[in-house]
Structures are given as structure tokens and as C-alpha cells.
Symmetry: C2
Subunit: 383 residues, 2 copies
Amino acid sequence: MKPLKKRLLTPGPTMVPERVLEALSRPTLYHRSPEFKEIFLDTRERLRRLFKTEGEVLILTSSGTGAMEAAVANLFKPGDSAVVVAGGKFGQRWEELCRAFGVKPITVEVEWGKSVSVEEIGKILTTTPDVKGVLVQICETSTGTIHDVKAIGKITKELPDCLLIADGITAYGVYDIPTDDWHIDVAITGSQKALMTPPGLAVISLNEKAVNRLNDNPTAYYFNLKKELKQQPKGQTAYTTATNLVIALNEALKMIEEEGLENVAKRHEMLAKATRAGVKALGLELLSENPANGVTAVISPEGINGQDVVKIARETFGITIAGGQEHLKGKIFRLSHMGYVDIFDILTGLEVTEFALKKLGYNRFNFGDSVKAAMEVYEKETL
Amino acid sequence: MKPLKKRLLTPGPTMVPERVLEALSRPTLYHRSPEFKEIFLDTRERLRRLFKTEGEVLILTSSGTGAMEAAVANLFKPGDSAVVVAGGKFGQRWEELCRAFGVKPITVEVEWGKSVSVEEIGKILTTTPDVKGVLVQICETSTGTIHDVKAIGKITKELPDCLLIADGITAYGVYDIPTDDWHIDVAITGSQKALMTPPGLAVISLNEKAVNRLNDNPTAYYFNLKKELKQQPKGQTAYTTATNLVIALNEALKMIEEEGLENVAKRHEMLAKATRAGVKALGLELLSENPANGVTAVISPEGINGQDVVKIARETFGITIAGGQEHLKGKIFRLSHMGYVDIFDILTGLEVTEFALKKLGYNRFNFGDSVKAAMEVYEKETL
């Protein structure tokens, strides 16, 4: 039987609410029109409230990686050194970006699935002169692991020349993150994760410490944050912005405010707990020692290739979940609970996991076991 | 926690596929334009294939009840008598329509949840002179029960003056019904059930026997089937048709043909079996002795009002299921598996039933019990 429906349970792009799709399909506006400017400015304000920052928030027409590049290109000079937390694919990306822009990475290797030792970062920062920044993920999406960025901020805030640059691509809108209070100098997110909007927009926040560091790197032509900083407070962008996506993002941010960021964060926490309980009820283990609330990485049982779980879910059941990346490919699969997701979506994700595992010969559970465990968590947490 | 999402699991309107919503939102066409005529004619042909009839198929801009009225108003004269099968709310509707148009109903009362005795109908038809028709439901939606219309057709086909008029509103697109082979002279359906289109269109088929009986009832002004019969083969309608809905229905019919009517019917059968197994695993009983594949009517456990199950599902979980009607109000609740529905929707319906029943104090099950039973059926039937 060919799947009738398609469901997206990946850690981005995530499911887009009907309201946001409707906003996306409104007539395209001219990006220099007063009507659009108003929406653009309103979107920036909403992002400021989401980030809880008094600093600047810029919208870029790119994926999240574009904003990561913008951070490295605009805030470091060739020859600068930066501490990079490499505990997964996205930590590695910071390292690659440093190399691409002549920045010397001081890499803190972290076993994939573990959180970085803040102590180790502190040690490097006190013993190494002239470190210009710390590049880290709030949530390392490839392993579903949280790093303690708040604790890192307590160190970097005392270092006037060291910026804390946090990739919060799968963290903003999952957690209630007080960017300023945590002393995150530069924070990044993307539209296609907990912000419930299709891919194509990135967001980068800069506090005063960061703004003062912006350089004039000529190769940062498209991702020129100084130019954007001149334009965006006027409701303009340096280059053409993805107008319909901005309007869609505006609608998504309205939804987050209507639900309340605190409630949004609570919902994600509950969904993550339910997912973890469900997975454990199947006799499976989590990859992460410090699992994130946006995505759960599950270690594939012995003898079963995680990619096969993903393949069966998609081809037989029309449900897209994510596999592992790099050396974790085949070793894990990932269930997302980020954005426009409720308990029934979680249960669907667990059910398709059960169907696929049974089909692959893993029999250490009965149908419904993960559902039972997740429903019990839901009942306890909310009813 | 306010529900994040809304899900429609009622026996109409049912969930509308994205493709159909997209078609619905295309620019409105002039109903007399060549472009629209082509779509209209194509839709009629697709409906003919769905009904498996060589007869006429007319599209009416109304709910299914409009087509029921059209049948009574155009095919009977005041003073005529007709056998009416009254085994639920929609059987009663035939009776009300007969009275409204001066037709004498010979009502066969059937306990709600039971199927009509074909023998009894046969007896009436052989002992009562001049019965002009039999009015019946293929599926009585209010009780989720099937009547054996095929068997009735074997009787009525021998009676040149007696039409078999079947309300197939929750049967076409759930089952593969060979209208001509079953000798159904007039069959009716609506857009908002298994045809996966929003409410607003009804369909009525007429074979030669029925066409020859069309009268000139002046009060059937809007529902004038003779007028429609002159217009519709030319791609016209007597009055303005719901153009966007026709285009949406066209898309839905394409989806049914792509899946294959036989597969569509098999899917509904599998989903119905899974639902019934799930419900029974909770210690609950079905209302129907002959349950339909489009909707499952569940007897609410003692001490629990079915309306409360419906209320909690909607208000706490954002899921709309249906209650009972008339004297069954409070006594039952109904889970639909009609149209754009897959196994995960069924499991969601069972989960919300579990959550609601637990909340109402019914504890004769563990969370996940119904899911387990339904997943087992699914595995057995399809994997």
C-alpha cells in the first residue's frame, strides 16, 4: 500500500501550520513598499521579544548556515583565534567556517552525544591569550544534545574581546532563552525549525559588544552585517529579502506569542519527555547524555541499521524522520518534536518507529508499548 | 494547555487533502466558460466511473439532503407510496421527505444499529400493490450500519414501477459499489464524506428506469432534475454551480483514481477493522451488528455520557469526533475513518478516546491498549 499522506517529523524543515502556509501564499509585496516595511519592522520586534534581547536582530535571506558564515566573516579577522565546540556535525561546521575565513580554531573535541565541559572552555580562555570568541551550539542537532551556553556566558562576559557566538538554530522557540541575561553576544536561528516557517530565512542577533566588533571584510559581500544594520532598522534590507517568507514568519511569531513563549517551551519539554519515555519503553537507548527538547537521537538496536528505520518510515508510511550524520550514520535515528507538534504527532512518530523496528526484526517490545509510556508522561505532565 | 492543532475525525465533513484545498483556492472560473465546462464534464465522467454506472450522474449545489429531496420530489407524485427503511436518523429523513412531498411512507422500523430485513422488504413489495420505490441508506451514518442494498436490488429490479433509491452518502468512496450491477436506480452522495471535498455538492445518479419516471413537479424548482438532465451533458447547470467546489471535487476524484477504487475500499476496510479492534480492546462494544467501513459507532461505557467524550476530545485535545443523534445522544460516540484517513489518524482517534475515557473515570484499560490492537490489525492486513 502506497502511503496516503506525508508527515514531516525531521529536525527541520518542520511541519508548517496552516496559518503560516496561508500567510506564505498571500500576494507578494514589493520589498521596498511601506506595507512590507511595516511587516518587516514588526517581525524584527517580535524576534527581539523571542530572543529577549535589547540588541539588534537582523533577518537574512539564507539558511541558518548563512548566518553562521555571517558571524564568522563579519566578527573575526584572518589570524584571529576562536574556541570551537565540536561535538557534532554543526560544531564541525563552525570549525570549517573558521578555516574558510582564516580564523584559527581552538577545537574542543566532544564525544558526539556528550555536552562540552564548561570548565575546559574556561581553562582555555584563561590560559590562551587573545581568543576572540567561543563558537558553540545551544543544541547540537546532529546528536540532540544541549551545551550549557548559559554557563559559558558567565565566563565570556568578563572577557571584553571574546564574543560568545551561539548557534541556536534548534533552540530558539524550543526553549525560552534569555539571550541578554545569558550574555550571548551573537545568537543565530533559522526559520525552518521551531519557528514553524519554511526554510529560507536566518536570524542573527548582535549585542553592543558584537556590533562594536563588526569589521569590513570585503568578501562578506552578501552577508554584510554592517550594511544590514544600516538598513534593517528602517525596514529595509541591503538586498532583496524573501518577502513571502518574512510574512509567513511574522504569522508564526504571532502564533508563538499567542501561545506564550513559556507555554511553548513547556510543551516542547513535555513532548521531549514523552518521546524519551516512549523510546526507552522499546528497550532503546538515547544517544545523548544531556538530551535536547527539540530532537531525540535514538541509538539503533544492535544489528539494525538506523537508515533502514528511516527508509521504511518514509517509503512505507510516508513519515520522514532523520537518520544519523557522519560517523553516526546508520547508528542512530532521530525523532523531532520541534515547532508545530503536539502529543499526537509524537505518538505517530513512536508508532512508525514500532512498525519499522518490527519489520526489521527487532521484537523486544509489543505494539503500543512506546505509546503507553508516552501517554502516561503526557497525562502526568498536563492532565 | 489549549490544543495546538485541530483534527477532524467526524463522519463528514472529513479531512480535506492538501491537493484538494489547493484546487479549491484556484481562481474562480465563470460557470459558463469553456474552461469550466471541460472540468465539469470531466468531473461527471469521473463520478460515473466512481459509481460504475452507464446512467446519468448529476451534480447539485447542495448538501446530500438536497439530492435526497430531489429524488423524492422528482420521482414520486403525491399519493404514491414508498417503502422507507428507518433504522437511524437518515432513514427518518426519507420518511420526513416523503411526508413533505405527499408520498405515503410504508415505514420499516429497524432498531438503530441493526440492518433491515431484506425478507421483510420483499414481503411488503409482493403483498402491497403499487409501491413506487424503496428508500434506503447503504450506510446509515447515525449508527454506522450497513443495509444490504445489493439484495434489495435483486427484488426491485423485477418490479418495473418500483425504484430502488439509495442514499450512499457515506458509502461511495468507502466501498467499491457497482451501482448498475446492484440495480440501484437512483444513488446519492455528498462531497464532504469519502469524496474528501468540503461540503456544498451533492451527486445523484439516475438509470434509465429512473429517468423515465422524472415528473414535472413545479415545487421542485431548484432541484429540477429534468432541467439538469438537459444542461449537464453539455457541461452546463440550470443554476449557478459551486465552481470552486467542483474543481476541488475533480482533484479529489483524480486522487481516488490514482489510488485505485479497489485500493481505496481496501484501505477503508483495514481502517475500520483496526478501529473496531482498538475499541474492543478498551472493553467497549460497537453499536452496530453490521458495522460500516466509514464510521464506527461505539457504545459509551456505563455511567459515561458519550457527549462528554466528544467534548473532552474537542476542547482539551482539538480533535472533533461525533456524538450520537436523537435517542442515541449521550449513549454513543462515533469515530470516523472515511476519506483522507490513514492508520495514524485512526490511532490518533483511539488515543484521544483513551485520554477522554480515563479523564472521565473509565479505567478498564491501560494506555495504549487500543493502539496495540489496531496496530496488530494493521500489521496483519497490510505488512
